[in-house]
């Protein structure tokens, strides 16, 4: 029985380990973010909310949580 293979990613500038094969949805659930109030940027590109579940995280991914703001 081997250890779960994990990959190294960066979330908001901080190093983080996630299970290999984890999706963006898995990561957001792990962080405990309400996805209705954020957008997610991966390697300088916004990921559409419709593809969180099908976006597989890969080693070295740089993610930023972009908070939804609406003030004027």
């Amino acid at each position: 029985m081997g250890a779960t293979i994990s990959i190294a990613i960066t979330v908001n500038g901080e190093a983080r380990q996630v299970a290999a094969g984890a999706s963006l949805s898995d990561l957001l659930a792990q962080i405990g973010l309400d996805i209705r109030k954020v957008a997610v940027e991966r390697n300088l590109e916004i990921v559409p909310r419709s593809s969180y579940a099908t976006t597989a995280l890969v080693e070295g991914d740089q993610l930023e949580i972009v908070h939804f703001i609406g003030g004027g």
Binding site: D34, R36, K37, A39, E41, L44, E45, I46, P48, R49, S50, S51, E64, V66, H67, F68, I69, G70, G71, G72
Partner: protein, 275 residues
């Protein structure tokens, strides 16, 4: 296009006309342009001031709100003596003083679905400087359905965001729902009234918004369509990220379900068809 300028206009706009990317033709384009500024507040103040100073020929100002003392920490198009007045009217007075060549159209009313359908078609470009999500989603949907470009900025605390939306032109341009498919439920995201905002942050974002509006009218530089600007004032960090068209988008996707403003309280039968 009318390229005749008075001596006063040539003098007033001389620093623009000197710019190779503006010139007399660009200045004439600005004069011929009709821009609607929704919200005469923290963003709308610098935005409208710079558009008026730049000589945008017709500026519409929409705001139903009354000026309060707590607005003056950031809403620089107003004055202390005008507390209690309508904000669109107050800002219009300031703009007239700054540049009487500009025609300012005051719409002292709430930007609801009926106002959106009546006002948006009369302008070439719409700017969102509003302070709440229902109006932001209404404007985003209405501009797309009516085929008008939208330059949108938002602020909170020490942060600002900006994007231009013109998904009505087709791929690759995204719409506002490609970024945020749905409005956040009430109470999930605070307003400036709840969480606060540094006044100067609204000044920077409103001025960036004015710059993007001028770029769109002049058709110069790189548009902010397909990109999102993120600014953190505390870190002094600007980032621009890509925003692609979402194939699953309910507003601009191939299987779009939003075809009118009925979600914003407008009877479907009264609404325009998609542009």
């Amino acid at each position: 296009m009318d390229l005749d300028f008075t001596d006063a206009e040539l003098h007033r706009y001389s620093r623009h006309i000197l710019l190779q990317d503006v010139g007399a033709i660009g200045q004439a384009r600005l004069r011929a342009a009709r821009v609607l500024v929704v919200g005469a507040g923290g963003l709308g103040s610098p935005l409208a001031l710079y558009l008026a100073a730049a000589g945008v020929g017709t500026l519409g100002l929409v705001d139903h709100d009354t000026l309060e003392l707590s607005n003056l920490q950031r809403q620089v198009a107003h004055s202390t003596a005008r507390v209690g007045r309508n904000k669109a009217e107050s800002a219009a007075e300031t703009l007239a003083g700054l540049n009487p060549e500009v025609r300012v159209e005051v719409h002292a009313r709430r930007m609801d679905a009926a106002a959106a359908l009546e006002l948006i078609p009369r302008y070439d470009l719409i700017c969102d400087g509003t302070d709440n999500f229902p109006t932001r989603f209404l404007l985003g949907d209405a501009c797309h359905l009516l085929g008008k470009p939208l330059v949108s900025a938002a602020v909170l605390r020490f942060e600002g965001q900006l994007a231009t939306y013109k998904a009505h032109l087709g791929a690759p341009h995204p719409c506002h729902r490609c970024l945020h498919p749905e409005m956040p439920p009430d109470g999930l995201v605070p307003s400036c009234g709840e969480a606060g905002v540094l006044g100067a942050v609204t000044g920077v974002m409103g001025t960036l918004q004015a710059t993007e509006v001028l770029k769109e009218i002049l058709e110069i530089g790189e548009s902010m369509s397909g990109r999102l600007l993120l600014w953190d004032a505390l870190d002094t960090r600007f980032r621009t990220v890509k925003l692609r068209r979402d194939p699953a988008c309910a507003l601009c996707g191939p299987d779009a379900t939003i075809r009118d403003l009925s979600a914003h309280g407008q009877a479907p039968a009264l609404v325009c068809s998609a542009a």
